[in-house]
Symmetry: C2
Subunit: 279 residues, 2 copies
């Protein structure tokens, strides 16, 4: 508690009551924890700060993420986790409680849609919403249960006039044998066929996911900081009027960030460095 | 022969030596022949005109189409058929003979690529060209052998710097239980992920397929007519400087065509009507 109080008044730790942390590149790199990230979170919490963890992940449920955080040594309950799967389910459930949803994606997305009280339908002609995440597995193969789902989603949008919601706009990810598709492959396929963009994309750099995270924090954006390693983090935080904190521990260099015309409020080497500043 | 000679000098049958016929909506509707279309073709041929048949089909080889034309009662050899599969293979083979090609699509596309002397590769990292057709079957399910191919194509384009060629830009098709995806689904998925359009699209309204058809006719475009039922037919013919002939027997009304700002040189109810005009 004392060390936090020694920060200067303009320091993010002094001026913010709530923190949204991006996960990959901020707390970990893939399966490897970033040194002392767990300690930083613990100290913030002991200092009375509220924290949530935000990820554009479109394939995992919050239940799936509990084990990941256990490996990182960061104690969490599901309510601390704001994944794109969860935020998408919340977005649709808020717009139309109990809506009939036709989904493209992984079991983790299905689970969150169910937990949000939405009705998963297999008949595209009765769908009110199409929700799309990644249709591919970790090797880049279309998941067996998704082999007919791009066409199902097309039919729900074309014939049934469903709304079109995407978990995130992520294009590609590195994997063992080369890049694999993100949710963007499904967005692109449907957008080209229908000459229509999604009605909403929930994940960063969209602010929809940040709004869900702020609801979890129960604080106004002006009292919260977004801590991330990517342009999309800074853009999402900035658009919401939050304090933006860039850490150099992730995939993007500070030079690259600035070359994109983005000026974060603060820059640190890593999350523990954000806590290391004294008086 | 005599009847053809009775046409006025400005009539397409008088002023053209070669004819490119679109297939669906012009000679047939799905499996049903359009009345007297076979007779019209026969009379043109007897009048000394050269004819080829052109289709944006991305899943069938010319061998596959022979049976279709037998059912229509129109005698053809493979050289009379200019399908998008074949035209795409010709385009790549002309640009780089024997090129290493990674393909997404149906067996008919594979067959035409092989017949054109191209080398089909399964390793995306050695590909010089990515050729995409439809990855879906007639029920809208991704073909089993294509489940990993969108990722393979992505890797060939992203890691190996392959050229990106699409058989056609077709978006969707009607099918028994609702619409199914065309090649556009694959183009859209790859374009979104890579933020890059295809280097070439061969099918209508592109002129690449028409150039291949004119090569088969062995005549300059000014001496040939494009006979079709869609805006894409008229656009492709017009861009090449051909006489354009619109028939009302297909999917598009003349009003719709003109509302798109397209003015064909001639309009007939059907192909037999094109032959019915006397002195």
């Amino acid at each position: 508690m004392e060390r936090l109080e020694k920060t200067r008044p303009d320091h993010p730790v002094a001026r913010c009551r709530g923190f949204i942390f991006d996960v990959d590149g901020v707390l970990c790199r893939g399966e490897d924890p970033i040194p002392r990230s767990a300690e930083a979170i613990e100290r913030l919490r002991r200092g009375g700060k509220k924290v949530v963890f935000l990820s554009n992940n479109s394939t995992k449920s919050r239940e799936d993420y509990l084990a990941k955080f256990e490996r990182l040594g960061i104690p969490v309950v599901e309510d601390d986790l704001v994944l794109a799967t969860y935020a998408t389910a919340q977005y649709v459930a808020r717009e139309k409680p109990g809506a009939k949803v036709y989904m493209v994606g992984a079991p983790g997305l299905r689970r969150e849609l169910e937990l949000a009280g939405l009705e998963l339908v297999e008949d595209p002609f009765v769908a009110e919403y199409v929700v799309v995440g990644s249709a591919f597995d970790g090797t880049g193969r279309i998941r067996e249960d998704n082999a007919h789902r791009i066409t199902g989603a097309l039919r729900a949008l074309y014939h049934a006039g469903a709304k079109f919601i995407a978990t995130n706009p992520d294009r590609i990810f590195p994997a063992k044998d080369g890049v694999i598709p993100g949710t963007g492959a499904v967005i692109g396929a449907l957008s080209y066929m229908l000459d229509r963009q999604p009605d909403a994309i929930i994940g960063k750099p969209s602010t929809h996911i940040v709004e869900v995270a702020l609801t979890r924090l129960g604080l106004p954006p002006g009292e919260c900081a977004f801590v991330g390693d990517m342009d999309t983090d800074m853009l999402a935080g900035e658009k919401m009027g939050m304090t933006t904190v860039f850490v150099r521990s992730g995939a993007m260099t500070e030079e690259k960030l600035r070359s994109l015309g983005i000026e974060p409020d603060f820059v640190f080497d890593s999350v523990i460095e954000m806590l290391a500043v004294e008086g």
